[in-house]
Structure formats: structure tokens, C-alpha cells
Assembly symmetry: C2
Homo-oligomer: 253 residues x 2
């Protein structure tokens, strides 16, 4: 069944006017007509079955009929990703939504080439991915911030899985076990509970001073993702999947 | 440093004539000249540093200088993927190479729309991905086969991680624990060692008779990949990453 994200409150009998794009999709592309059912969610009121109660050239109206799922939230996992090229960045946003990230933050690092991106377009990709993957809320895509600022304002209690493609640098001295990169599953298995974030770097990797800061921070778990060189989109998908499998909602109940 | 896959034997002093495409890339795009070094691998003789010893309008020649890495093989993991649309299929091939699959088999299932694909193009994508990810061999892309045939000829000792997007079907009776879908990490942790394969289905999912056959086979570990609906490319990347992390070469040494 077609799923749409809407901003409106949802309750029995609530009437919702979908956006022009949504109406075109529903009626023009998917050929839905009067009385047909779609699913609606707004991130607050669960998932509702709604019926088309009016169809005209100007648009359509839906009436919420019954709640079919209670509101839930995925585990508290942010993705922080450096501004990579547009194609891989759009892939990463789409896949992060499928993989249950609650928020997608864009980071400017010393080796990030771009300093801006079309956040509205990325948010639209996130919303469409949320509709298709069956989520009950749409992750927020946060406008680019400097990595140093993100780290300066790091909240108490959130851990950071730092995917360090460069792996362990024998020339650097990481001051013992705390700064040593581990396999992702081993690092995740040992850490405590609570909120997390995953950090994926730019194509050129992190600068030495960024790596040193990350390796030394107490909230950071530096991890390696195997012996092969991964593109940013591959690394992001792999890291989010490993987190969900080890600590998130892919674990066995 | 630039890496190229070549079919030629590699030994000290061996002269290699790269393909026309490779020569164009080396000299025309990357502006390499006489005496510059590149890395060569052929899947048998390890990785060799080679130098450009001749550059002309017609092409170029390389001479192998020294072996810089011994030949190794990734763990014995096949990816079996249904023929999905061209875009996601090409993504899956590229990412499967990065994630260390040794062989990529294409499967025709009851709900697969296409019955053929450009295998040579997929093999070229696999070769380029092997060059970029630092592998010492290029995974073979095997021409499409019927899933039933693949299962009929299943080799002794190889296990199959069946990613069943439909999850557990309460209406079906899977005959107890053996056919029950589990979280991927739990299923991988309990199984024995040896060779494996990962199976990713088509966009329309598996037909009931395919699912029943897979659930009942002794060599199959049916797994779920969380509560959200994943596209085929997301599921393939996630499953390969989980396998490498749990049983492959991403584990802690």
C-alpha cells in the first residue's frame, strides 16, 4: 500500500490535503481513485489508514480512518557524514534512512572539498526513503557544520563510532588501548548502552590532527572496517548495519 | 598509486602491455610518463610495482620491478543475487567486490523480471572495483542461472545465508527451529566454519515455493535484516558486511 509522510495531525476522521507532488503521484501515477486506501504517518501519531474522499483536477483530500500502527522510534543513532560528492551523498542519505538512522548530520572536514550542499533536496530524499522503508518518522538532515564544532559541542553520554579508513597508523602513538582502532563488532560489544553516532569521513580521509583528536576523545570508539579500501557510501552502509545488528533493532529478541 | 589488473604472468623483469583502455587511462588521463610506477596484480602472483618503460602514441609497456605483496585470497564467500534492475545490480557488484565476495552469481527467480544482463559489463565493473579497493584478484561474475538449478547443484559443506525480507510468516509452518529466520549475527555466530554464500532476492521478494524450499534446506540459515524494508542493494551490502564482521576478515585477530 502507498505510504505518505504528511505534516498534519492524524486522528480518526482528520482530513488531510496532500501536497501537489503527492496528489500527482497518487492520482496521476498510481491511478488511485475515490475510496482507495493509503497509509499516512507524521512522526507523532503512528501510522493511519486513510481513504481518498475527494479527487479533482486541483488535487485530492484524504480522510484518516484507523490507526494501524502505534508510533515508535528507532534506536538513538545519528549518522555524521562528511560532504562527499553528490551521487554518493544522496545514496548515503537514502540508505541511512533504510538502516534506521534517526538524524543525518553533514560535516565539513579539513579534506572536504565542498562547503555546501542542497539540504532541501537531501531532506526530500530522506522523506521518500522513509515512506518506502516503512518508518513512522522522517530523519532530519542537518545542514553542514564544521567537524571541530560538532566535536566541541559533543553531548554527554553519546558514543561515536569513528570509521577510520586509514586504520592504525604505526607512526602515531595513540596512548594505549583507548585510541587503538578495533574491529567494529568487538568495539560495539564492549561499549555500554545509550545513544550513539557513526562518523564517515571524506574521500581524502581525515587530516592527521582530526584523527588525533578523534582517537583521543573518551567518547570515541575508533573502528576499522576490514582490510580493503571502502568508498564512503559502502563504509556508511556497512557501519550502520553493524551497529543495528550489534546494538540496535536488528538484535535478537 | 594506480593499480591495474592484468592477465599476464608477473615476475621480476616481466614486460606487460596494458590494454588500450588502460594505456589511455595511465598516459592520457593520469599523465604518467617514463619511469613512473604503477601497481599490477593478476590474481596469482601477488602485487608488483612496475615502471613505465615505453610510451608511444600506440600504447605503453610496463616492466615489473618488485613484488610488494604476496598473493592472498579473501575468505570463501559467494554472493548470489537475483537479477534486479541495472542500476542497483551494478551497485551491488561494485560493493560486493569492496566487501570481499570471492564470486558473484546472478540468479533467475520466479519473480525476477529480466532473464539476461550484460555480464561482460558487470565483470568490467568488478575488475575496476578490485583495482580500487586494493584486492589481489578479481571476483568472477557468473552468468545468470535459475535459482532452482543453483540449489539442485549445491556443493557439500557450503552454508547459505538467506536474507528473507518477508521475515517469518506466521501462516507457514517451518518445521521448528531449523527453518526459523533469526537475526543475522545470531545465525552466523552459531554456524560452523567453512565456505558460505549470501542470497539476496528480487524486488518482488521470493515466491512462496522458493521460500519454503530455502527454509527447509539443511545448508540454509534464514536471517532477517531488521524491521525496515530494505532495497536489494542495501540488503546485499548489509549482509556482506555482517558476514565479514562475524566470520570473515573483519574479525579481530
Amino acid at each position: 500500500m502507498i505510504r505518505l509522510h504528511v505534516p498534519d495531525p492524524l486522528a480518526a476522521g482528520a482530513v488531510v490535503v496532500p501536497s501537489a507532488d503527492q496528489a500527482r503521484y497518487l492520482v496521476g501515477v498510481m491511478r488511485q481513485g475515490l475510496g482507495d486506501s493509503v497509509l499516512l504517518f507524521n512522526g507523532r501519531d503512528g501510522e493511519w489508514r486513510a481513504q481518498l474522499v475527494e479527487v479533482s483536477k486541483k488535487g485530492c483530500r484524504l480522510a484518516a480512518v484507523e490507526r494501524v500502527r502505534e508510533q515508535t522510534s528507532p534506536p538513538d543513532l545519528d549518522l555524521i557524514v562528511a560532504l562527499v560528492k553528490r551521487g554518493p551523498l544522496e545514496t548515503i542519505v537514502e540508505k541511512a534512512v533504510e538502516l534506521g538512522a534517526r538524524r543525518i548530520r553533514l560535516a565539513l572536514t579539513r579534506r572536504t572539498n565542498a562547503d555546501h550542499t542542497n539540504v532541501a533536496r537531501l531532506q526530500a530524499i530522506a522523506t521518500e526513503a522513509a515512506e518506502q522503508t516503512g518508518r513512522l518518522e522522517t530523519p532530519q538532515v542537518v545542514a553542514p557544520e564544521k567537524l571541530d564544532r560538532i566535536l566541541d559541542a559533543w553531548p554527554d553520554g553519546r558514543r561515536l563510532m569513528f570509521c577510520d579508513e586509514a586504520g592504525d597508523d604505526p607512526a602515531a602513538e595513540w596512548g594505549g588501548r583507548a585510541g587503538r582502532a578495533r574491529s567494529a563488532l568487538a568495539a560495539l560489544a564492549e561499549a555500554g548502552g545509550g545513544p550513539w553516532a557513526v562518523l564517515i569521513g571524506p574521500e581524502g580521509g581525515f587530516a592527521p590532527e582530526e584523527r588525533a583528536r578523534l582517537r583521543e576523545a573518551a567518547f570515541v570508539a575508533p573502528v576499522t572496517l576490514g582490510p580493503r579500501i571502502l568508498r564512503a557510501d559502502t563504509a556508511a552502509i556497512a557501519a550502520l548495519a553493524l551497529w543495528q545488528a550489534a546494538r540496535g533493532d536488528w538484535t535478537e529478541n
